[in-house]
Each structure stands twice: as C-alpha cells, then as structure tokens.
C-alpha cells in the first residue's frame, strides 16, 4: 500500500476494454483503498459526465486510444474545450505505435503515456511524476 500520497484521489477510467477497467480498479483499490474510481466503456458517456458541473471532478483520468465511435483522440479534442486544467490526464493504451506516442505530445493536457496493463509501479510513477 502506498502511504501518504493521494489517498483520496478520484480516478476516471475511459476504456471499452472491461477487463482493463477491472485491472485498474483492482490495482488502485489495493494500493489506495480510500480512492474513488469511476469507469466508462463509452467515451461519450465520460464526456457527458465531465461536462456536467454537478459531478465531482476527477483528479486523474486514464484514457485509452482505440475505442469505437469516439476514440481517444476525439475524446481529447472535445475534452480540451472543457478541461479544468486541474485534472491530470494519462493515456493508458496497449498501442506500441510510435505515431500514437508522438501524437499525444500534441496535447498539452496529456501528462503521460502508460503501456497496458497498469501495474502498481506504473500507477505510482504516474501519480508522483
């Protein structure tokens, strides 16, 4: 368990792969039992949630790239307009494509790129960096 850092962090996971979402949930809960997690398998639902000001704003968003209908890039394009700058957005993808990695650098709000699957080490690295 990670002591003293981000115990009450609020995580949002946007990925159509339900197995990945479960992995994230398990790893986050295990290391930070007090954190909260919300996951979306459809990107547009996540955007709807983020637009609604009544909702609690997540501290960290893990975003997948390859998703049907609205993919990670389209999500970023739309999210850029409503982002509060406080939320840390991290790409979480199984992509090993260099173009994908380079493309993320075009978005200032993307703070990291994690190769799936999420592990405890990758999680800690992403939140302290």
């Amino acid at each position: 368990m990670v002591e003293n850092i981000h115990h009450n962090t609020y995580y949002m996971i946007v990925d159509d792969d339900i197995i990945n979402n479960k992995i994230c949930e398990v790893i986050i809960k295990k290391n930070m039992p007090n954190s909260q997690i919300i996951s979306f398998t459809e990107a547009y639902r996540a955007l709807d949630y983020l637009v609604d000001t009544n909702n609690h704003v997540p501290d960290i968003i893990f975003l997948d790239i390859n998703m049907p209908e609205i993919d990670g890039w389209e999500f970023l394009n739309r999210y850029e307009k409503i982002s509060n700058q406080k939320t840390k957005l991290i790409m979480l993808s199984s992509s090993t494509n260099e173009d994908d990695m380079n493309n993320t650098q075009k978005y200032s709000l993307v703070k990291g790129f994690i190769q799936k699957p999420l592990t405890m080490q990758k999680l800690i690295q992403s939140i302290v960096s």
């Binding site: 159509d16 792969d17 339900i18 197995i19 990945n20 479960k22 992995i23 398990v26 295990k30 390859n66 998703m67 049907p68 209908e69 199984s94 090993t96 799936k116 699957p117």
Partner: protein
C-alpha cells in the same frame, strides 16, 4: 535523306556500330500502308536477349500471356497515351521473363524505332520492398494484437489467484476474452493459409466437390457468436439447400472472412445478412452489412488485392489479409466477387460461383 534506303543498310558499318553500342535491345520496323510492321533491323542486344521470333508479352496490369506479334504490340502501345508508362513482361529467348519499359519513336510516320529498357531488377526490388512491408505488418499484428487475449487472460488469472476477484467476476469476463480469442483464431487461420499460398506459389491444390452452403455457414457461425452478441448485431440468415462446386476449406474461409468483415464494419446494433440466390447457371452468396461502407477508391484497392487495412468499429484487428485470401480463393474456384458499397450506409459483397 531516306532513312530506309540510305541509313539502314545491313552492311552500313557506321549504323551498325552505333546501334549495337547501345546496351538496350532495339528494333527498327517500317510501317506499311496498312499499318503492318516489317522488321528492318534488330540490334545485337535484341537478338541476344529477346530473340527474333515473335515476342511473348505479358502486360503487368492484365496478367495475360499471349504470343503478341510486334504489330499487336505496337497497336496496344500506340493506343496508350504518351504519359502512360508502358511496362511489359517479355518472355526472352532463354525462357526467362524480363520486365521492360518500352519506348517507341516514330520517324516520318514510316519508321518505328523501339527501345526496350530492362527494369526487372527495379521491379523485383519494389516487389521485395512491398513483401517486406507486408511481413513487417504481419509481425506487428502477431506480436501485438495476438497478445491481447493472452494478456487479458493472464491478468484475470492473476487477479483470481490473488483473490482480487472471485469466480463469479472471472466468469463475467469470459465472454470478452472469448471474443478476443475468436478474432485471433480467425487471423491465425488466415495467416496460415496465406503463408501456405506464398510457399506453394502457383501450385495450390484445390479439391472441388459439391458443398452445402448451409453446412458451411452453420459450421462457422459459432465463431461469430461472441462478436454478434457484443455488438448487438441483428444477424439475418435463412437456411438454404443450395450447393456449390468448390473446395470445402477455401469456400469456408471465403465465407468466414466476409461474414467477419461484415460484423467488423457493421455499427453497434446494426444488421448483417446472408442471402443465397441461384439461377440455373450461377449461385450468388450475398453478404450485406449496414456499416461504415467503402469508397470507390477503397473498393478498387481491395479488388487490386493491395492489402489495405481498417480497424473495425470495435477496433477489431484487420489487415486486408482476409480479403486478399478471399479473392485468391474465389479465383482458384472459378468464382467472382462484386462489391457494392456506399460510405456510411453499408456494403454488399457478392460471391458468385458457376454451378
């Protein structure tokens, strides 16, 4: 000065020396009143490599072999626009096919000078490069996409072992894993068939027999079940007793790929249908979806068997490998493929076999 009479003379030492100094095969013909060609002169290189009997020419685009007389060759080429690159595969004297870029020069509408520039190496290099790109992409799919279900399974087993999830959770995730596994199996089957075709180039054995279309569809249906459920596809198929005369395994792979494509590009909650129609000569198997559709350019690319790839609407892995195989197999079984499609409305793939 009359070229025909004065410059070209068999014993014209000056002319001979110059033309024979060229490393390219050159042939000089006179054009008669009726447009017929009479050869006046072959240079040394021409006689040595191509030979003076009628040229066996194969155009790259049409891929047919025929004994083409120079007359016909000239007509074919002169009907082409000047800008068009004219490449020919010429069966040379030593029975080796060489690729030539052919340039015509017309003199006074009477004399035709033809220079053949061999580009076999360049073409072979291009082909190698293309094959290499294909292999790179196949390897990348093999090493990346094929791992996905294994990664998922591994993660689930890991979580189960550590009591992070219970058996009920584990069971809930199995359909997702199954779907991923099915896609990889289809890909690996295609890959195996493709590799076999590459190895056996030109001598693929086919064993045609009367095959029940229904039997094949029923057999392969379970492979799509998980995708159909996951994408909430409305799958429409009315069983039929129609039979086709084809190689069973090839036919199965053709139909499987086309159904898999239809599901891949159908929208969530979309429709995929299979209809089998027949008249007394031909059986049509029509596989239709109302998905993202294809542009004219994309259809042309598919029909030219250039491997193109699209991720499906549910990021299904793809590569164009399936469609390349489909067309090779249809051709081997004397069938034909037609594609009708409107972007954003859907596609119709019609496979036809003679009875």
């Amino acid at each position: 000065m009359d070229f025909e009479q004065n410059v070209y003379q068999k014993d014209n030492f000056f002319f001979d020396t110059i033309v024979n100094a060229f490393p390219e095969p050159i042939v000089i013909d006179s054009i008669g009143e009726n447009g017929n060609l009479t050869t006046l002169y072959y240079n040394k290189k021409y006689v040595e490599t191509i030979g003076t009997s009628s040229i066996e020419v194969r155009t790259q685009k049409q891929m047919f072999i025929e004994n083409m007389t120079k007359n016909k060759l000239f007509n074919t080429l002169s009907s082409a626009t000047k800008e068009q690159e004219t490449k020919f595969i010429v069966r040379c004297k030593d029975s080796i096919n060489r690729i030539y870029r052919v340039v015509f020069n017309l003199y006074n509408q009477k004399i035709l000078v033809t220079v053949l520039n061999e580009i076999t190496d360049v073409e072979k290099y291009r082909e190698l490069e293309r094959m290499n790109t294909i292999k790179d992409r196949l390897l990348s799919i093999l090493s990346h996409d094929s791992r996905m279900p294994l990664n998922s399974l591994h993660a689930l087993l890991d979580m189960l072992r550590n009591n992070d999830i219970n058996f009920e959770d584990f069971n809930n995730f199995l359909p997702e894993v199954e779907q991923q596994v099915d896609k990889v199996i289809t890909f690996l089957d295609n890959l195996t068939s493709w590799i076999q075709m590459q190895i056996k180039k030109g001598e693929v054995l086919i064993a045609p027999q009367m095959v029940s279309v229904d039997e094949v569809i029923q057999e392969i249906k379970p492979l799509f079940q998980s995708s159909i459920i996951a994408k909430k596809i409305n799958f429409e198929y009315v069983p039929t007793d129609i039979q086709v005369y084809v190689d069973y395994n090839m036919f199965s792979l053709i139909i499987r790929n086309l159904i898999s494509n239809a599901i891949k590009f159908a929208k969530t909650q979309g429709n995929v249908s299979i209809h089998v129609e027949t008249d007394s000569f031909i059986v049509h198997i029509i596989i239709e979806d109302n998905g993202i559709g294809l542009t004219k350019e994309e259809i042309n690319k598919i029909l030219s068997t250039q491997m193109i790839s699209h991720q499906g609407t549910n990021h299904e892995i793809g590569f164009g490998l399936g469609l390349t195989l489909v067309q090779e197999y249809i051709k081997l079984n004397k069938g034909s493929l037609n594609i009708l499609s409107v972007p954003n409305q859907g596609s119709k793939f019609i496979v036809s076999f003679p009875i």
